[in-house]
């Protein structure tokens, strides 16, 4: 479980996060949503320790991140899997080498054991025959799946995804969403996803945190988001006619 208490982050005069408190639970897909500029990416980067913050605390299963030494922070990070918005695959390595990289760095497995694990994980993300391709030869969807494979290959306790669906067609986006949810359930990972995609919110948002102007404006789940009367949430989530209709149908069905 990840617990965030009163998180403040500024860039010069501009305060981007204004005291966010929330928890992200184990075995659940936790979504952070909000408009562009609401502080989602900054929040995610603070969670990952890529940004320092002025006030507040973030604890990973009781360990307060800011109180850890640099070496302890690195050890904690080795338990984190991250899927970047642009996949961030190492372009000098093949797909199999990218996936094997965390194993080479953090385990003492033999080459054949690592190879078996890579084969297993690539099969898990439906990329059985892509081992020797370079990232530049893979499509956007394939790159995202490789990034997921790399993130989960070393059995992480925490999985972070920054806009995992951006730039993907709706069908591939659903495949990626389902894959993340299956992996979260299967390995009981604490998953935190930063997303703009309303399909993801409805499909896999077991916990949803809505940010507005650097503050937590609402939190709930993909069930309660239909019922909420929070104006900021409804303006954001149901801005399209399609989602307005979906909400209306849901509320009529669940009267």
């Amino acid at each position: 479980m990840i617990e965030v208490k009163n998180l403040h982050k500024s860039f010069g005069e501009a305060e981007v996060l204004k005291g966010i408190s929330t928890t992200f639970e184990k075995g659940k897909t936790n979504l952070i949503i909000g408009q562009s500029g609401s502080g989602k990416t900054v929040f995610l980067k603070c969670l990952l320790g890529l940004f320092n913050y002025e006030e507040g605390s973030i604890s990973y299963d009781g360990e307060i991140f800011s109180q850890l030494t640099e070496d302890e922070k690195r050890n904690l990070r080795s338990k984190i899997g991250m899927v970047f918005q642009g996949s961030a695959l190492f372009d000098s390595m093949t797909i199999a080498e990218n996936v094997m990289f965390p194993l080479q760095m953090f385990t003492k497995q033999s080459k054949s054991e690592m190879q078996d694990r890579v084969d297993f994980v690539l099969k898990r993300v439906n990329l059985d025959n892509a081992h020797y391709k370079m990232p530049s030869e893979a499509s956007g969807g394939m790159q995202k799946r490789v990034a997921i494979a790399r993130a989960i290959v070393n059995n992480p306790k925490y999985l972070f995804c920054d806009e995992p669906n951006s730039g993907l067609d709706p069908k591939t986006a659903i495949v990626i969403d389902n894959l993340i949810q299956e992996i979260t359930d299967e390995y009981q990972i604490t998953t935190v996803i930063n997303s703009h995609d309303m399909n993801s919110v409805m499909e896999i948002g077991e916990k949803i945190v809505f940010l507005k102007d650097g503050l937590k404006a609402w939190e709930g789940s993909n069930e309660t988001i239909f019922k909420t009367d929070n104006e900021a949430v409804t303006n954001f989530v149901y801005s399209s006619n399609l989602f307005k209709k979906v909400r209306k149908m849901y509320l009529e069905e669940n009267k």
Partner: protein, 245 residues
């Protein structure tokens, strides 16, 4: 203030580079890859430039010695001194700041832009050790490149001398052997080791700490070339004053 901040940050980067080393089997591969990219990949251009500049130095020296009292073997002597003391260690390093330095800055800068460095950090890897340390070790072989440059420069001078008819082969070789001081070669290689460290770290600094997108990668490469050259020229002056002055 920005200059002071950057200088401080550069030294912090160097200290951080030696902390939490990457596992040796992985590091070994990185070092060999960087030897191939930075050292083997530079041999061609260094050989080509050294040979022809050696020839030019010989021709210019020979053409400027018009006084019959000056012995003809002085051409070989002057060529040797110019190449061993300055051309091979210093001016080849400036050329390498363009070739190797730009390569290092743009490759690390591209990794920064595409979040590959963030990916390393999130995994708990000391990205400075992973990216900069192998380049620094690979460039410790740079004196071999300079040794080849010295040899080919003198050979180029000999070819120009003999085929251009400026002086005889015997006179040129006599000049090469006249007043030979081993310390000059040692001085030259000490400079080369220092320049190798500069060639690895300053371009890495500019790539690692760059901000922005693709356009900024290009700008960082240019800035890195300028600063690497400036530092090499300044250190050349200081080291020459310390060792030969």
């Amino acid at each position: 203030m920005t200059y002071l901040y950057n200088i401080g940050n550069y030294f912090l980067m160097i200290a951080e580079m030696f902390r939490k080393p990457t596992k040796w089997p992985v590091m070994k591969k990185l070092i060999f890859k960087d030897i191939d990219d930075l050292i083997i990949g530079s041999l061609g251009i260094v050989a080509f430039i050294s040979f022809f500049v050696g020839g030019v130095i010989t021709i210019q020296t020979a053409l400027n010695i018009s006084n019959p009292l000056i012995p003809k073997y002085l051409v070989g002597f002057a060529t040797r001194q110019s190449i061993v003391l300055e051309f091979a260690p210093t001016f080849t390093s400036i050329i390498m700041a363009g070739k190797v330095g730009s390569f290092i800055t743009s490759s690390i800068g591209t990794m920064r832009v595409t979040e590959q460095i963030d990916a390393l950090e999130v995994m708990g890897i000391n990205s400075l050790n992973y990216l900069v340390f192998p380049k620094t070790i690979a460039l410790m072989l740079y004196p071999f490149v300079i040794a080849i440059g010295m040899f080919l420069g003198i050979l180029g001078g000999m070819a120009a001398c003999v085929f251009g008819g400026y002086t005889s082969l015997e006179n040129y070789i006599l000049g090469l052997q006249t007043d030979f001081d081993t310390f000059h070669v040692i001085y030259s290689f000490i400079k080369t080791f220092v320049f190798a460290f500069i060639l690895a770290t300053i371009p890495s600094f500019h790539g690692f700490y760059m901000k922005g997108g693709a356009l900024e990668v290009g700008k960082a490469s240019t800035t890195s070339f300028v600063w690497t050259s400036v530092v090499i020229i300044l250190l050349n002056y200081i080291l020459t004053g310390m060792m030969l002055g």
